[in-house]
């Protein structure tokens, strides 16, 4: 089939199509009535994203760009999220969770911690969340030395507890600095093993592919053979 013989593709409002394509992969094309491609993008990208997410039990997608300060004692920069967020709405719960867990006065993450950032040393969390972490990651199943034990949290009788300077005998051996100490991210790596990295790769690739899809919704295919038209401004 000679694509140069095709009638020009009506991109309608290309900016709206691009935003829709970002929000939900394939939605921009469906808005432009390019149903076949829209469906193909939706299936391919969402399947890749959610398969990756399932490999790492939702821990692989989280938004965290934190520097050690007076409170939190560790750095954590999740650059992978910059790719993952290009998948749009499916990756946005991570931002809600990051906002909820932000100091001061953090709230318990929603949906049992779906896409919540890991708890770092010194980070304040709610008592509910501290109890949930202790229940969720029993140290005996993971091998020592890893969080979380009851003694890892200070002030367990107050509403906000502090994951700080926990059990120094276990973690301060050999003059380790705070950044070398295990935190919840270490638990995830131990628990998921190589699936954590594979899940990260799948979700990042889903986001990067959606960048191509957004551009296709905005400007049509990358080929001079196919002509496009856009909606005239009113």
């Amino acid at each position: 089939v000679d694509e140069s013989q095709l009638p020009p593709i009506d991109l309608r409002d290309r900016w709206l199509a691009a935003v829709l394509a970002w929000l939900w992969p394939g939605a921009g094309h469906i808005y432009q009535r390019r149903f076949g491609k829209g469906l193909l993008f939706m299936v391919c990208i969402l399947a890749t994203f959610y398969y990756g997410l399932s490999l790492g039990s939702s821990n692989v997608v989280y938004a965290s760009f934190r520097k050690a300060d007076g409170n939190i004692k560790q750095d954590d920069s999740r650059y992978a999220y910059l790719c993952q967020v290009a998948t749009g709405l499916p990756a946005l719960p991570a931002m809600i969770q990051a906002k909820r867990m932000q100091n001061p006065n953090p709230k318990t993450p929603l949906w049992d911690g779906y896409m919540a950032p890991p708890v770092l040393i010194g980070q304040q969390v709610t008592k509910d969340w501290a109890n949930r972490l202790i229940e969720k990651w029993p140290p005996r199943e993971l091998g020592a030395p890893v969080p979380f034990e009851r003694g890892d949290f200070l002030h367990m009788d107050s509403p906000q507890v502090n994951f700080a300077e926990y059990n120094p005998d276990r973690h301060k051996q050999g003059g380790l600095d705070y950044n070398s100490m295990p935190n919840e991210l270490s638990v995830w790596h131990i628990h998921h093993g190589s699936m954590f990295d594979l899940g990260t790769v799948f979700t990042m690739i889903a986001g990067l592919l959606n960048v191509l899809v957004i551009f296709d919704a905005w400007g049509g295919p990358f080929t001079p053979e196919v002509k496009t038209v856009v909606a005239k401004p009113n």
Binding site: E3, I9, G36, Y51, I205, V213
Partner: protein
């Protein structure tokens, strides 16, 4: 060191990625389904070939380690 069979099992995870990347990449270069599928087939072969070459190179470099 991971035993060879265990390492090879992990290569299966590349299969869905190759399929998806080829399809989406090709669909951003064509509008009709037939040229998309033809281009996707060629892209998949190219990616697989590239991965095999890199795998062989890394295997040779790590021989005896």
């Amino acid at each position: 060191m991971i035993p060879l069979f265990a390492a090879l099992n992990q290569f299966w995870y590349a299969l869905p990625l190759i399929v998806v990347v080829s399809l989406v990449y090709s669909a951003t270069r064509h509008e009709l389904m037939r040229p998309i599928l033809v281009h996707a087939g060629r892209t998949a072969v190219w990616i697989t070939g590239f991965m095999v070459v890199v795998f062989l190179l890394l295997s040779l470099m790590s021989w005896g380690l």
